[in-house]
Amino acid sequence: MPSPKSEVLQGTLDLLVLKTLATMGPMHGFGIALRIQQLSKDLLQLNQGTLYPALLRHEQRGWITSKWGISENNRKAKFYSLTRAGRKQLEEEAESWDRMSTMINRVLKAT
């Protein structure tokens, strides 16, 4: 199904997840999904489910940890929070993202 909205690249999703957790503190998967959709003004087409393998990948690498807790409307939910390694990773990725976008902008403007 062709979509008018942007497909999410995996690297981008990783960055978005880490950034969300960095600004919002511990959150559950649904919350992260909502937050990303709001921030991107629904321009990003995201199957919310794809978030979970990404979260698991981050957890396996030690960037985030997870813990079962109770959500704002009293539901059992798994909360993810950033670790120190995750924070460092975020900084690195944000930096390389900056470099990349600057470069691409420069290329685009040059023509």
Partner: protein
């Protein structure tokens, strides 16, 4: 790097917490959806819409779960575990199949592992307690113009030791035996005469006391010390902790026990366990032929070398050959035409490694055959099962399993089977480790020692065999899945009995191969059996029946020569007076026994040897009436009498070959021959006989009177129709009447002696026979399996034939002829292979052509009978087909 390792660990850990993680996953997704639905409800959607919208924005629930699972664990391992579980379940569901398959593989892999362990334990690493055996080589002499090996002399050995630089050590180990009396028990015991550096060179250190010190192997009878084995210490010395420094009489000389060896060290003679060691200085006490340490012409020692690390066999041989050349130049009298050679341990010419080598080589080929037959059998079983599982496979393909995944599943099942077979096989090999020794006849109470060794090399080889087996086993059904076509798979196709149908050719092919392989083994067994018979029926040139052989150990009883002579004369008189005894005599060497004849360079009036040849001839020291007693015919002249004693003129009896060589065209009687510097007059010419081996070709040989060349260690030979058992007690009485302390060796017939000398052939026949029988059984099972499957699948066709008027005998003939056609194919193929392969039996064949028609014919008959038996039950079942039911079903 650290992160990916961390990820791997986490994934690995996830394998073991699957159930909990799976629950977590369900909970997390459920809570996500519930929160999403809550939100949608609050937005004012109907419950149904809220749910639909929540699921839509989540994306495919099951796909996401599957993605998640792949990220969570290690999918390769998980599917493998799944396959393993499933495979085990399948095997449990068909226990008959599983047991048969595993049994076949156990036999196949077990036979391989057992032979590997023998090869390892007897040929490659025969001395378990010895360090770095790969650096050891055997050292022996050669004589120009003669095949095989000779012993070497002590001075030559010492010169090698002095002049060679590429070796860590040269050491001597010469097997000998004595009668060991401890307390009131006397037993024949084997020991070794060794150089002083023996234990150091081997890296074996006595656990109590010491080994031999440098210099203890020099000086005539100068160092009466001995090191005893752990077994001897534990057994005969009852584990006495104070044993060091105690004394023990060995061949009537008091020796001081200076140490005992660690458990598991059996010396360095493949086939026998050594019980004690003495330094070479004591050689005269244990060896006949006098003091030899300074005699370069006396060749009696067997030796080994340890190479310096990094030195190759070839380099070492070059250095040794150079020294041997120099010795040849420096000492032409004793060393002309003499070389010195190194052998790898597994070809050691002077112990049982050499005798067993051809047998074990053949066995390696044979067990591969047996394994192939077993694989073919199991392959066939798997094929039958893969037919039965065609529906399962089709369904799995239809619901989306990849073919690769199915093949993996089938390989896993093959692996389970072969792994179980390998475990069974290794257990079998473990039990058979010591079995080889059982095939050898016991000798004189001394146990043979031929242990298999199951070390990591054997395990690795067995694992390799198991893997190959798996590949072969998995291949068969995998090959089958390739041909499954989804659309047509549900059509039932029954295989006809006669034509065989499309896929049956694979199974028939396997059976043909099985039959051909076992036919080859049957031919091999037949050939070996015939050789053995020829060997046993070949006349050795002396009577084997009605002649008994025994000995009285005068050396260890401390008799000196004059006393021994008196004893021998008195005993002979007494024995000859016994009822049933026709004649009796003494002689130093028993024909065809282990041990070496005396040998000497001879000179003959008027005979000029070619410049390169040194005319060394072996001889035996024999008593009066020797030729009558052993039944060796004299061509002319006379045999020795009592008058040929030390005071009389020196005389000799030569054999025909010697006469023809040194006195061509003349009568040797009355001629002179010089032996060890003494001239002897030839008084008789005897017919040729066998001296060392039944298979040897005629060689020059002569006899001298025992009295004129006395040896205390002489054997007693008695011509009598009585049995050894009857004679034993009478002999014992006579010996004890002369000296109550003397022990009598076992009394055997000369036939027994011949049989013992041919035991390697006997072992080869037994092993090939056992495995040939096994192969036949496996092939028959395979044939039976194929035929009964064909019959069960062809019920409809059989029913139709019956309905159309075929009688029971027609059907019987139908099935039998198909089975026999397969057999005939196999036999034809097998015969072709056998014609090419039986030549490899080489040295094990004696006077039998590798294409012997009798062996091929009897293999054919045996195979046909086995095939008939295997096919009869399925054929009989075919005749019991109920046509009405067969057609209705």
């Amino acid at each position: 790097m650290r992160e990916s390792f961390r990820t791997f660990l986490q994934r690995l850990a996830a394998l073991f917490r699957r159930r909990r993680l799976e629950n977590d996953l369900d909970d997390e997704f459920r809570s996500h959806l519930e929160m999403s639905i809550d939100l949608n409800l609050r937005k004012g959607m109907t419950p149904a819409d809220a749910r639909r919208e929540a699921l839509r924005s989540f994306g495919g629930l099951e796909q996401t779960k599957e993605l998640y699972r792949e990220q969570r664990g290690l999918p390769m391992i998980e599917t493998t575990l799944q396959d393993l579980r499933f495979g085990l379940r399948m095997l449990r569901r068909t226990p008959g199949f599983s047991i048969l398959a595993i049994l076949c593989l156990t036999l196949g892999i077990g036979a391989n592992a057992a032979v590997f362990s023998w090869v390892e334990g007897i040929l490659f690493r025969p001395y378990p307690a010895v360090t770095h055996q790969e650096q050891l080589l055997a050292l022996a002499g050669t004589a120009r113009g003669e095949s095989g090996h000779t012993a070497i002399s002590w001075p030559d050995f010492a010169d090698l030791q002095r002049n060679c630089t590429l070796f860590d050590a040269f050491f001597v180990s010469k097997i000998m035996g004595t009668t060991l009396s401890i307390g009131d028990r006397a037993e024949v015991t084997t020991g070794s005469i060794v150089s002083a550096n023996y234990f150091d060179a081997l890296g074996v250190h006595p656990i109590l006391g010491r080994g031999f010190e440098p210099g203890e192997d020099a000086g005539r009878n100068a160092h009466p010390v001995t090191v005893v084995s752990y077994q001897l210490w534990k057994g005969r010395f009852k584990g006495d902790p104070q044993i060091i420094g105690k004394t023990q009489r060995l061949n009537n000389v008091v020796h001081t026990i200076v140490g005992f060896t660690p458990e598991g060290f059996y010396g360095t003679f493949v086939g026998w366990a050594m019980q004690f060691w003495v330094p070479a200085s004591m050689e005269e006490i244990f060896e006949s032929g006098g003091y030899k340490l300074e005699d370069r012409g006396a060749r009696w020692i067997e030796a080994y070398v340890r190479l310096k690390p990094g030195v190759t066999h070839q380099q070492a041989q070059q250095e040794i050959s150079a020294v041997a050349k120099r010795l040849e130049a420096d000492y032409p009298d004793t060393n002309r035409g003499r070389g010195i050679m190194l052998w790898p341990l597994w070809q050691t010419p002077f112990n049982n490694a050499g005798t067993l080598l051809p047998t074990l080589e053949i066995m390696l080929a044979v067990v591969v055959f047996v394994l192939l037959i077993a694989c073919a059998n199991v392959g066939n079983l798997l094929l039958v099962r893969s037919f039965a599982r065609r529906h399962e496979m089709t369904v799995r393909l239809a619901i989306g399993a990849g073919r690769g995944r199915l093949v993996k599943q089938l390989f896993t099942e093959g692996l389970i089977l072969s792994a179980l077979g390998a475990v069974g096989g290794l257990l079998t090999a473990h039990w058979c480790r010591h079995a080889l020794v059982l095939l050898f006849p016991a000798r004189g109470g001394v146990a043979m020692h031929l242990p298999g060794e199951i070390d990591w090399r054997v395990l690795a080889l067995s694992a390799g065999v198991c893997l190959i087996t798996t590949l072969v086993l998995g291949l068969v059904p995998a090959f089958q899945t390739r041909k499954i076509d989804l659309a047509g798979a549900l059509k039932s196709d029954s295989v006809g009995v006669v034509g065989g149908g499309g896929r049956a050719w694979v199974r028939s092919g396997l059976v043909v191969i099985q039959v051909s392989l076992s036919f080859v083994l049957l031919v091999g067994a037949g050939l070996l059996l015939q050789s053995l018979q020829r060997i046993r029926t070949t006349s050795p040139g002396f009577s084997t029946h009605g002649v008994l052989d025994t000995a009285v150990n005068l050396v260890s009883a401390g008799y000196d020569a004059p006393r021994a002579q008196t004893f021998q004369d008195e005993l002979l008189d007494r024995v000859k007076a016994l009822p049933g005894v026709e004649s009796a005599t003494f002689a130093r060497m028993t024909p065809l026994s282990y041990g070496s004849y005396s040998s000497t360079p001879v000179a003959v009036d008027g005979y000029q040897p070619p410049p390169e040849e040194q005319p060394i001839v072996e001889y035996n020291e024999v008593g009066p009436d020797y030729f009558t007693t052993l039944g060796i015919p004299l061509v002319s002249g006379r045999q020795f009498t009592r008058a040929d004693d030390e005071r009389a003129a020196l005389v000799a009896v030569v054999n025909e070959t010697m006469a023809a060589k040194y006195w061509p065209g003349r009568n040797p009687i009355g001629e002179r021959v010089q032996v060890k510097g003494r001239w002897m007059r030839v008084v008789g010419m005897a017919k040729d006989s066998k001296y060392q081996s039944v298979r040897e070709t005629p060689k020059p040989f002569f006899y001298v009177p025992l009295r004129q060349n006395f040896s205390r260690g002489a054997g007693l030979y008695i011509r009598t129709p009585l049995s050894p058992e009857t004679m034993t007690s009478a002999l014992m009485r006579e010996v004890h009447a002369l000296d109550g302390n003397l022990a009598l060796y076992e009394v055997i017939t000369l036939q027994e002696q011949v049989d013992r000398s041919t035991s390697p052939q006997m072992v080869a026949v037994t092993l090939v026979g056992i495995l040939g029988g096994l192969a036949l059984l496996l092939a028959a099972i395979g044939l039976y399996g194929v035929m009964s499957y064909a019959v069960s699948q062809g019920t409809r066709e059989l029913g139709l034939r019956m309905a159309l008027g075929a009688g029971a005998s027609n059907l019987l003939r139908l099935v039998l002829s198909r089975g026999l056609a397969l057999t005939a194919g196999g036999v034809a193929l097998g015969a072709a292979v056998a014609l090419g392969l039986t030549r490899l039996l080489g040295s094990l064949l004696y006077k039998v052509s590798p294409r012997d028609p009798l062996a091929f014919g009897s293999a054919f008959v045996v195979m046909t009978i086995a095939a008939l038996v295997a096919c009869f039950l399925p054929a009989w079942r075919a005749t019991r087909t109920d046509p009405a039911r067969a057609l209705r079903d």
